[in-house]
Amino acid sequence: MKSFHSRTALRPPEPDPRRQQGFTLLELLLAMSLTALLLGLLSAGVYGLVRDWDDNAAGLDRSLDQTIAILQIERALQGAFPHGYRDPETLGQVVYFSGEPEQLSWVSTVSPQRDAGLMAWQLESDPQQGVLLRLAPAFTDDPQPRLQQREAIVLLPGYSASFSYLFNVGNGLDKVWREQWSGATELRLPQAVHVRLTPLAADAPPPADTELDIVAPIYAAEHRRIRPANTLFSPQLSAPAQSSAAQPFRGGN
């Protein structure tokens, strides 16, 4: 220690250490307010960043959900099945398919829960919530009462759906999109179903901001035994040879 003192003794005298024992109040306040300002700016920036990130992640999640829902609807419509049951009033065999402009019920071989057997689906356009879905097993009877007891889930929030049904029988001479289709009177399924999805609000956040379409060809449109009704408006199509003509899609099976 002594040698150290002797070496440093040559330097100019240091200021009194008691005067430099800390910062003054002013310095401290200044430094702290500057730090607070910087931290505040930084945390505001990071907060905005994180919120933006969360918004993006939630939007992407909604987009994925919506796409999966649309693909599921398309699959279920493509797998529509001409489910026959006996009408308790007329005792005749009819095909279950109830297509309205804003609501559609049908029986499909596709079930989202991978349940065995056929599944009755019902899509309904609700002007407040969006597109609602009801599911019920289609046993051998009319699944409509069971469908009505089921709780509806909101499948596509923020969208309204309108349905149209392709009438296309015979060799392609009459192709009309109809607004309604009743399996009980037609005794067959439509050739295809078109679902137009329109956003409920004009300024909705993505993904519910674009008009979308679902087009699903129905391959198994006719029942094995139940013959289609001759309610066709074109006389040339009422010929039995043409109404029972195999559809081109079946030709590949």
Binding site: E14, S63, L166, V176, A192, L212
Partner: protein
């Protein structure tokens, strides 16, 4: 005690170099963070856009499958930059027991904005058996 306080007074601040290095590092870290967030935002947008396009293209393909070789089917799809074109019939196989009105036909769905083309084949009904 005395030596320590003297050492402190000699080091009573950072040099310019130290401050600059610290600022550069902080800048890099913050810049990396913001770039990451911006990149993920862009990625999210692009994937949302791709999902939308996939849904639209699927509707177009299914519409093209609707046996609409004469184009008399009312085009119900919402305005989208897609164009469906029917192309040549596939050649029928040589050995065939019976003439049929069903044939396979090529079709193409073209997105006019991205110039992406989806091709496939579909069953069509001919007017005369071949």
């Amino acid at each position: 005690m005395k030596t320590a306080s003297r050492a402190q007074t000699r080091q009573a601040g950072f040099t310019l170099l130290e401050v600059m290095i610290a600022l550069t590092i902080t800048g890099f870290v913050l810049g990396g963070l913001f770039t990451l967030a911006g990149g993920s935002k862009q990625l999210a947008w692009r994937s949302q856009d791709n999902l939308l396009q996939a849904v639209q293209a699927r509707a177009q393909i299914n519409f093209a499958l609707l046996n609409d070789e004469y184009g008399e089917l009312e085009p119900v799809l919402a305005d989208a930059p897609y164009r469906r074109t029917a192309e040549d019939l596939l050649e029928a196989p040589e050995r065939k027991t019976q003439a049929t009105v069903f044939a396979l036909q090529h079709y193409a769905v073209e997105n006019e904005q991205t110039t992406r083309v989806i091709t496939g084949s579909r069953w069509v009904t001919l007017e005369l058996p071949q």
